[in-house]
Symmetry: C2
């Protein structure tokens, strides 16, 4: 009995239209990455387990897909260990490789491993799939692409400025106008925590603050209180919760709150530098906005924090994010490598472009012209023309069988072919091709040169 075919949950097949649309996004991002001087690297799909394990917290470790060792892997397992029948213990013995969970840790590993071949500052981009054993749900997959750009080896704030420009350039080139690039700075969050007497509770504080949009001011305060942040401190947050207006006026408020925190003031200066530069340079279609609630789960950012929101008319959340980290490669033994990087959320960008009908129409057109097959001689005659068309980069195809006209025309319609060519006795005699426009229905007899010019 034949198997009913299916794919693992959380994974996807992509049909030709979907691949074309995804490649359209990749290509736009790649082009901008390269005009900004980023260079592509690629790393293996699986890494040694010790490279990945312990880098994403306990939850992360659980979500990493482990690869079973080949051969008689149980022969390596001591009986005394085997009899315990403990999945975790066994895994560490029978699996030495794991699928990458993100592109950041493999990048850090790459930088350390190849440090002697790399020119620093190193501007790299990477667009590859990652895998997570997460519970699949709408918009969350077990296999998905990440598109990352990072610069390592420079603490210059010009990098942050350029990343704001880069986001603007990518989304502008995708014709996705009106995205908001939200920016914050870890030092500001530290400063606030310091000022409200929660310096040792920075993570609890930022995790709670990060939820402001979702659960509202009261609930955030409750959560902070439950984490032993003093009421007197929470009271000092009042101006923060109602922060609005221009970038500059918000900065002004923040300065007042953070006056006593050296670190906080440093964070403000960094933000001002970036904002001033962007004001001078201008953005095409995006806007830069301060968002002090922005913390982004991952707690390894040390300076700027970025997040990009889709235009308000689509309910999508963030379509990108990133930030500055001071110690990317320390885990692999290379100290003091500061970096800053950003990421694009391909799947969400895809959904947004789909919802706003921003994919160019030409994407769904797969072939430019189909030659109807009337028989052996006609097909050979057709292939001579097809060869020339293809050399002119026209996507041309011969229907492979001399099937009924109706069947062939039906195929042309289904594949949305704009032109078909009919070649019969008469055409072969006069060395012409009858071109039929599938939209208007008109037909005309053309020689090869005219044919090419008509379709191109």
């Amino acid at each position: 009995m034949a198997q009913k075919p299916s794919i693992p949950k959380g994974t996807r097949d992509f049909n030709p239209e979907q691949v074309s649309k995804r490649n359209y996004i990749f290509q736009k991002i790649r082009t901008v990455f390269e005009t900004f001087g980023f260079q592509p690297i690629e790393t293996p799909s699986f890494e040694n387990s010790e490279t990945l394990m312990g880098k994403y917290g306990e939850e992360g470790d659980r979500l990493i897909f482990k690869i079973l060792d080949s051969g008689d892997y149980l022969s390596k397992v001591d009986d005394s260990v085997y009899t315990i029948k403990d999945s975790n213990k066994l895994t560490s013995i029978i699996s030495e490789k794991a699928l990458r969970y993100d592109l950041t840790v493999p990048f850090a590993r790459y930088v350390v491993q190849h440090q002697n071949e790399i020119e620093f500052p190193f501007k790299r981009y990477q667009m590859q799939p990652v895998w997570r054993a997460d519970r699949p749900q709408k918009g969350r997959f077990r296999e998905f692409y990440q598109c990352d750009a990072d610069v390592v080896g420079s603490q210059s704030l010009w990098q942050e400025v350029e990343f704001v420009q880069l986001y603007d350039a990518v989304f502008s080139s995708l014709k996705l106008d009106g995205v908001t690039i939200k920016i914050n700075n870890r030092k500001i969050l530290s400063g606030i925590a310091e000022v409200i007497g929660a310096h040792d509770k920075l993570i609890d504080f930022t995790v709670a603050l990060d939820k402001l949009d979702k659960i509202g001011e009261e609930k955030v305060k409750e959560e902070m209180l439950s984490k032993d942040i003093p009421q007197s401190g929470i009271d000092k947050l009042k101006p923060l919760f109602s922060l609005q207006g221009s970038f500059e006026s918000q900065m002004h408020t923040l300065k007042t709150i953070l006056a006593s925190s050296k670190e906080g003031i440093k964070g403000i200066e960094e933000l001002e530098f970036i904002n001033n530069a962007i004001s001078t340079l201008g953005l095409e279609t995006a806007s830069l906005q301060l968002d002090v609630t922005l913390a982004r789960g991952l707690n390894y950012y040390t300076g700027a924090i970025f997040e990009v929101s889709a235009p308000k008319e689509v309910q999508m959340g963030s379509v990108g994010g990133g930030g500055r980290y001071d110690d990317l490669t320390g885990i692999f033994g290379l100290k003091d490598v500061s970096g800053v990087g950003i990421s694009f959320g391909l799947d969400r960008i895809y959904l947004v472009l789909e919802e706003l009908a921003l994919f160019p129409e030409t994407i769904t057109k797969t072939i430019d012209v189909l030659f109807i097959n009337f028989g052996e001689k006609e097909a050979l005659f057709s292939l001579k023309a097809i060869k020339h068309l293809r050399e002119n980069n026209i996507h041309a195809e011969l229907y492979p069988d001399a099937a009924k006209m109706k069947k062939q025309m039906n195929y042309a319609n289904k594949r949305k072919v704009p032109f078909v060519v009919l070649v019969g006795e008469e055409e072969m005699k006069s060395n012409t091709y009858t071109l039929k426009n599938m939209v208007s229905g008109t037909q005309e007899a053309l020689n090869l040169k005219e044919l090419i010019n008509h379709i191109i």
Copy 2:
């Protein structure tokens, strides 16, 4: 203690130059695929184990990378099974997913699963990595890309004709002149086996014949004899071993040998059809050659068999191969779907292009122009110009730090930047940019428009 970073054996990191060179090959192949009317699909990196297992023979099953189930996978294992401590038995319980081993089986699964959305004949291409737990050796990796194009749903021999053209078009566009497209037909092999009384030993016969190039006539005969192919039959092969000359004259010899085999004659007719069409249509740089010893391990080909050899001056073996199969999707319950497909060997093509120095020089150039950073004001002034350059698709970069001139110029040299721009007090005053040609060493002061025109 920090880990010394490494990657699993048989896998590779690709640096920017390597990625660019690989993408150059992918892009050439993709462009030709698309002008021939092929459409891209993508399938998940891992499939359900039952989709893959049993499709590649016993050896194949062993070489498939299995993914460990998440969570407490041992809780699913019955104690009575567990105590046997048998790796194979355990695998089937604790691993339900596996990394794809090739693109053919996932494609067959895709066709069956999506048969109602597909227009047949379906011309698809797919370029994705595959994984094999093979012993790594020179040129053989555990993760590598396959680039496949297949047509399913038509028995037309025009497909074979077009694949010969496609190979020619791809290698011509890669400027790799002089490849040989070898062609054979399974029906001819069957016919010969029939004629020499080895009809029930077709696989033994073809496996031995396939080795003619490597081990020579005598050893091939010995192997056949050892497989119980009668001496009288082997004697009939004499004309086969010395087959040479033009396609047509070889066909003539074959017809004599195969006169009594209906299937063999059918195979000859098919080859003649393809050869006649190609003779009429012509090839750009490749040549088509009959090779009756060509069998290609995989025994699922039923008609044409292709293999492409690199030009003789490089010792590389095949850079591509493929053929006609009559039942791709039967294993998944869809009968009578004939197909024909070919594949490109990316890694070998890469090595050949490298050896023959056929990669365009521009590939190693990563940025067009570097702006030297003399300080904050100068950097901001530079970024205004950089913005315009990038909009004109020029790859431009600002050195992020106001480091010593020597250090910045050193970086420019290491990255092989053809131009650097110097912006100091004077340039800002006169609104110009001093462009230095890194090859000739000459410098000139230019306004923005001139700068763009100079670099573009």
